[in-house]
Subunit: 339 residues, 2 copies
């Protein structure tokens, strides 16, 4: 079904603290026409990810901000609807960065035709896309897990965490997850194969984590921060590695927590236990994509990696679905089926 | 001159906060006799280093604690006074770990005969010993400086810092030091060749550091903590490396500073700027000693590395000299000439 209207969701206002649906506005405009050398893309799937919260801020973030009135950014799986570009034909499926809208023009830069090995197109936004690559690079290149290591990860059933945990199992590690809802913890153990999973809804989460990690923690894959990090810190072994790819628990923070100031505690721990703590942004690891796609396609085909999506129907529902990321409402990789 | 008395300085009590001379006690005992397979060592030089403060604590430290009534630990340059060990002859100079005393027995484990290229024996406690190796490994292996990088270091004229800064200059970096006394800052620039040096005695140290680092900071060699780290944090570039080998500003801390709690600030910075922060303990890098001795001997012989010692006369003055480390009273590597 073609359409003459492009619906787009723009940033209406910047949130102070937790975002709300009123920070977004749905607009309509005419579908644009591709110029020579351009393609018109129709969005099939839109990815919703925690990093987008940072793009809503005026202040410094680890990538560019979205300006007020501009369309929200985001990765998409799109179909070429019209082409005046020699590399792309109508009907091609591509991974793109079209944002929260029905249609977008592209000059082809950054577009990648979907690998024919990808049976479900939306997987290119998850296990075979940016979140999967984040898990792969963060765990393998920075976390450097060895067989027998204990690997802990938070947001255990999410787009990144679920892949981290399953790769760690493939590498022979003991894997302990942290999740919220009881059903997520059960899924992590029964379906993803983790050795244990504790819930941050339990007031005794730190004690349960300690019990689940009798030999301490060798790798903590950090994508949450907050209470997860507090529980992990005392359990870190000498020479533990802590890749940091996200801190979702902090994104809506409007002021620093009260004291005491534990900055020196963290520095002291890094020194006393010879820790390596390293942040990374996945756009700097494009050179790892071929190895990642090769390994991940094999693991998926062999059933060694399982993948769960939380699919929301309709672009108009993207804002509310996005807000759910911060309360853990999604169960699996959150994507919007746009068309 | 031989002697029948072994003077030894033992830990008399554990400090709460800043140590005092009353935490130490000078005792005398008979010089011990070596058994078969042992040597009797006479201490020529004793090294005094910040890490010893941690050994005075009852709590967890990054190495073993000294028990009450036991002799304080420490690296020494010692001379073999009597030998019943086939590898060592009377008169051999060795680097040892005899502690704060005139004489010690050894079964040879951990003893290293001084490299004949070392013209001044006490250098084996500094530029050619543990502090020099700490500088070499921390800067090169963890800091990974590239020509043109800006390297910042605190305790700039100390045993470790002075070597870090000069190696960084040899690698083509811009080097900015942080020191205390004005004469130390001048020495860092005029004698050690740093591009700039700011004083943490100035209330505007952070502003001066920012001015001295117009292109930000690529490597911060951390051996201090406290106000130095506060000034460095906002200036760190993307992909900056922060090796941590010491935190002298924290060692006498008895309680955490008041809030707010900046733990999340530090985590956020690591993520946003893709920082690598890594602690290390030099005893895990013995495999780097041959390369270190080779490079450092050449640099010293060529006059490319300058080295300054602060030599205190007499074992009995070790406690007071040690306390001076925490107020910056020493100027250069602190050693005690024992005999």
């Amino acid at each position: 079904m073609e359409n003459s209207v492009n619906r787009r969701i723009v940033l209406a206002s910047r949130p102070a603290g937790a975002p709300a649906v009123t920070n977004f506005r749905l607009e309509e405009q005419a579908v644009p026409e591709p110029a020579e050398g351009e393609v018109l893309l129709r969005t099939r799937y839109l990815s919703l990810d925690p990093y987008m919260r940072g793009r809503m801020n005026a202040g410094e973030s680890y990538a560019d901000r979205v300006e007020l009135g501009e369309v929200m950014v985001g990765g998409t799986v799109s179909e070429v609807q019209a082409s005046r570009h020699s590399d792309f034909a109508v009907g091609d499926l591509v991974s793109a960065y079209s944002g929260w809208q029905d249609y977008a023009l592209s000059d082809g830069v950054g577009l990648m035709k979907l690998d024919p090995r990808i049976s479900s197109p939306s997987y290119a936004l998850g296990v075979l896309g940016m979140p999967g690559l984040t898990a792969y690079v963060g765990l393998l290149d920075i976390g450097e897990p060895k067989a027998g290591d204990t690997v802990v990860l938070a947001a255990s059933t999410g787009a990144v965490g679920s892949v981290v945990g399953q790769i760690a199992k493939l590498k022979g590690c003991r894997v302990v997850g942290i999740a919220g809802a009881r059903e997520k913890c059960e899924y992590a153990v029964k379906e993803l194969g983790y050795d244990a999973c504790v819930s941050h809804y339990d007031s005794d989460m730190a004690g349960q984590l300690a019990q689940a990690c009798p030999d301490g923690i060798d790798v903590y894959f950090e994508n949450v921060g907050g209470s997860s990090w507090n529980a992990v810190m005392p359990l870190l072994n000498n020479f533990a590695r802590v890749p940091i790819c996200g801190l979702i628990a902090h994104y809506n923070q409007t002021e620093l927590p009260p004291g005491p100031d534990r900055l020196s505690v963290m520095q002291g721990l890094i020194l006393q236990r010879s820790l390596k703590i390293q942040g990374f942004i996945i756009s700097n690891y494009r050179h790892r994509i071929p190895a990642f796609i090769g390994d991940m396609s094999q693991w998926l085909a062999a059933g060694q990696i399982r993948y769960r999506e939380d699919v929301v129907q309709g672009l108009e529902n993207a804002p509310e679905a996005f807000l759910g990321l911060f309360s853990g409402a999604n169960f699996g990789k959150l994507v919007v089926k746009v068309s």
